[in-house]
Symmetry: C2
Subunit: 553 residues, 2 copies
């Protein structure tokens, strides 16, 4: 019995903000019974993942130990926590537990991936407990930028873990449960082995502000706008969408929601009883006939996503609606690092139309994550023996660990793939498992290290030359044939690049020895080398080269 | 004579921050004599310009009217003002005028592009004047984040234009001339037709801060660091580099400059007499032997550039020097929007080593551009009849125009390619000329609209399928041969993607009519269509397809 250990293993979210996936285990080393907390996605970018649809954690470890998995718990319905549940579930095949709103959205994810949504079981909040092997787990409500976010109280024979999930301390979050210190003190009373804690805003030194503080400024903004008002925020921030809609209503405007995600979230909130007083909205068809000074649109695309409603409006008409000079556009949001270019592109497009844009204005947005003083508060309320920072890039985790240590608690940076033994007096990383990323590319899951996306990046940087030669034994039939893609048509010699390539490759073939011509590999290598050398001389670039050798025999 | 007009035509920099290139003209419409102010570059990114080396303004208009160009003036030595002068000069072949430091660097640009550096003529500051056709132009010193920045006082028969160049109002810029209000009042006294004015910081509402205010905080930071200190800033910010070096010296540390641009800039400043008291530095070789608590490195790469010294140090050893736990790294800089990912990548890499990183801290950085109150001050000092905003994205230009109008002055947003007639009582856009971008791609200049880079982006997003068929008349010789690049090897059918493609394409060839097989274009279209359809079914992606048809006859 004394050999049993309690482990924590992040597979995503520890060393990045995105694709959260955390594993807890209890039992004999290598045979621990496991639970999974969250299965999220992260989003691709052109720099590192061009053409990829979604990025998910590599759950090889879980797949190989699927028989040890007792359950999956989803803390809240943000994509970086629930987005991969449908795609990855077939590898895990364990029951999924979530509260009503989160579970509703998790069920949709299951359906979209062709899985049975009844594998998602809706459970109530603390003090209700879910038994999962050696664990007893309960959902402890906490405020965040989406309704019904929850921390988890995880009881194992070796001690209690409190997993915060994403959270902020907001006494008036508008929609969803407020931060309830008394409840948290009661539910986490007694010895807590470890607090596994959100680190996102550890570098924000001021105390967090309440969602409630936005109501008046947003109302004033909407009331003061002379023409049409358009506002964007994260669709999942139901409280914010409601505040925006109510401001429109208060200003006597008809409110129209644009964007699939926006409508889906509000529907989910209404269906699950999270919201029962959302203002009446009009359809885009009806909105077209309403005088623009009486209209407010609430749209998707706060991060400048190219296909979202905000970007569509920046490019022209969307569902018959169009921006015009004198309209106002409010980003009730913060631009996530890396999304700046997309947001700025939209702002400039609106500027060209004559739309007044407000962005990055703290009067109209608050963060959904706990700032540094609020993290200290959480440490104090839960009063754990150690703090394990999660949900952050490495710099956030490291800073959070320093903060905990400054408060007199043990702490440790545990990154994706590191198995941390929480049974020891001081938590300790004892093993490492594979924990990279997989890409959903079209309909196929590919490994980040498969080289497929690396090849696409090389094509984007270097262009592509295709060399085609036909041989009959060691006899070239005709000249080599070259096609190029993504390269200049003419180079320094002022002749067509393909002609220069064909000439150089043809010369080589004429002089090549029979042995070279009969060996595919040598021939390909040589043709590649010559093509790259010629391209370098002609255009100053070394392209990717594909050689196709066809043999007639 | 009354038909003569005074025109302003931005070819770059008006609607973007980067690749500045402005044209002024005076004379009969369509036959104005021209001067060019600045010839800068802008930098590529993976989203829109993968594989491109540099982006420059499309100067087709100037090339087609090269006989009308009297002179080129360079206001200062930032890459976005001087970077294209060497590459574009052969199309213009007019004398280049600049002050000593700027001219020195412009001459290097000419040499690097294989042009005669003696085409760059060094001139003194106001009241010295350069005569250029109908224009008299003088360089009016002003403070900026590089030494020797200058505004231009441009006198034409139809009136005076003041072109600010990039500027801030700094009475103590450290290196380079301070803002001298009396000088500016004197030099711009009398009727000024138009102020063409930097707009970069129009959204910054607080008054600008002085470079001098950084000295004490930086000294305190360097003195308090326990181990090695590494600081990065723009190499061209000679004042900042000197402040950093002096702080190192004051703390008893040996100072080592890392990165080619860093050394080149300091050499240029010393050569041209801008700086005569730069602290002694040590070479990287010597630095290796100095105890790290006595060492300070000043390095390139404040924007996270992958090849710069900061990124090299984040990845491991660079010139024998290496970061270690307890070292300090200071970003004495601001991250330019769009560069966040690169900077964050470095910060996390340092976090993993245990280096303490300070970034985005206003104690250690001030902007080089005039904030909103300083723009108002400039309007008041020059007191022009109209203000034409330049050096900004569209939203900056629009906001700056509003600011000028709120101050009671006429203003107009003039974007790249718009010809503005400044002779009229109210400035007016009268024509448009082509003003896109050209890309330096390897060694070749290509047009932004040539489709070359668009093809590379498509390859990155969609992958590439190469289909090879050999025909003898209307008789396929063997099966089609398929190669893929950047695509998953297996799809939904669990067979190799190339096998499935070859099977489907082979079936088509077997059944195809003789007419189709004899017509290259139809055959290619059909094979492409089938390859894309099969790929869509197998992997959920429609790749780029290149078809190579070889005919034996």
């Amino acid at each position: 019995m004394s050999r049993n250990r309690l482990i924590y293993l992040p597979l995503g979210g520890a060393g990045e903000i995105g694709m959260n996936a955390y594993v807890y285990g209890y039992g004999e080393p290598g045979a621990e019974r496991l639970i999974v907390v969250d299965l999220g996605v992260t989003f691709p970018d052109m720099d590192t993942t061009p053409g990829v649809n979604l990025i998910m954690p590599d759950i090889s470890f879980l797949r190989e130990n699927a028989d040890r998995i007792e359950a999956i718990f989803i803390t809240h319905a943000h994509e970086d926590h629930v987005g991969a549940v449908g795609r990855l579930w077939p590898d895990l095949r364990a029951p999924v537990y979530a509260r009503a709103f989160t579970g509703h959205l998790a069920q949709i994810k299951m359906e979209e991936a062709g899985q049975d949504p009844s594998n998602v079981e809706i459970v109530g909040a603390w003090p209700q407990k879910v038994e999962a092997g050696p664990f007893k787990v309960s959902f402890l409500p906490i405020s965040h930028s989406i309704p019904e976010s929850a921390g988890l109280v995880i009881d194992a024979p070796a001690g209690r873990i409190v997993h915060t999930g994403d959270f902020k301390l907001d006494a008036e979050p508008g929609v969803g449960e407020p931060w309830d210190e008394a409840l948290w003190r009661e539910a986490t009373a007694g010895r807590v082995r470890a607090l596994v804690c959100d680190s996102t805003n550890v570098f924000s030194h001021h105390p967090g502000r309440s969602e409630a503080g936005l109501k008046q400024p947003i109302e004033t903004f909407v009331a003061g706008a002379p023409h049409m008002v358009v506002a964007t925020t994260f669709a999942s921030n139901v409280a914010r969408v409601k505040t925006l809609a109510e401001a429109g209503q208060a200003a006597g405007r008809s409110v129209c929601l644009l964007g699939r995600a926006m409508r889906r979230m509000i529907e989910a909130a209404v269906t699950t009883g999270i919201v029962d007083d959302f203002p009446t909205t009009v359809t885009p068809e009806d909105a077209r006939d309403i005088p623009r000074e009486n209209l407010m649109l609430i749209v998707t695309g706060s991060q400048g996503e190219r296909r979202a409603a905000s970007a569509q409006l920046a490019r022209g008409k969307y569902l018959g609606l169009q921006m015009a000079e004198g309209d106002s556009f409010l980003f009730s949001s913060k631009t996530i690092p890396g999304n700046e270019r997309g947001v700025i592109r939209i702002m400039n497009a609106f500027s060209e139309i004559g739309v007044d844009v407000v962005s990055e204005d703290t009067r109209y947005h608050v963060s959904g994550h706990a700032n540094r003083p609020d993290l200290e508060k959480m440490h104090a309320v839960v009063d754990p023996e150690c703090v394990i920072p999660m949900h952050g890039e490495h710099m956030h985790l490291r800073e959070h660990a320093k903060l905990a240590e400054a408060g007199g608690r043990a702490s440790l940076v545990v990154v994706n793939g590191a198995v941390c033994d929480l049974t020891r007096a001081v938590p300790h990383v004892v093993e490492h498992v594979e924990a990279d990323r997989v890409y959903l590319d079209g309909d196929i899951l590919i490994g980040a290290l498969d080289g497929i996306v690396r090849d696409r990046i090389r094509l984007a940087l270097n262009g592509h030359v295709i060399v085609n030669v036909i041989l009959d034994g060691d006899e070239p039939l005709g000249d080599p044939w070259v096609e190029i893609m993504g390269l200049p048509e003419t180079g320094k010699s002022r002749a067509a690049l393909v002609d220069v390539l064909e000439a150089d490759l043809g010369q080589f073939l004429m002089r090549a020895k029979s042995k070279t011509l009969r060996d595919d590999e040598t021939l390909e290598d040589e043709l590649k080398r010559i093509a790259r050398k010629t391209a370098q001389a002609e255009i100053g670039k070394k392209p990717e080269v594909t050689v196709v050798v066809s043999r007639l025999e």
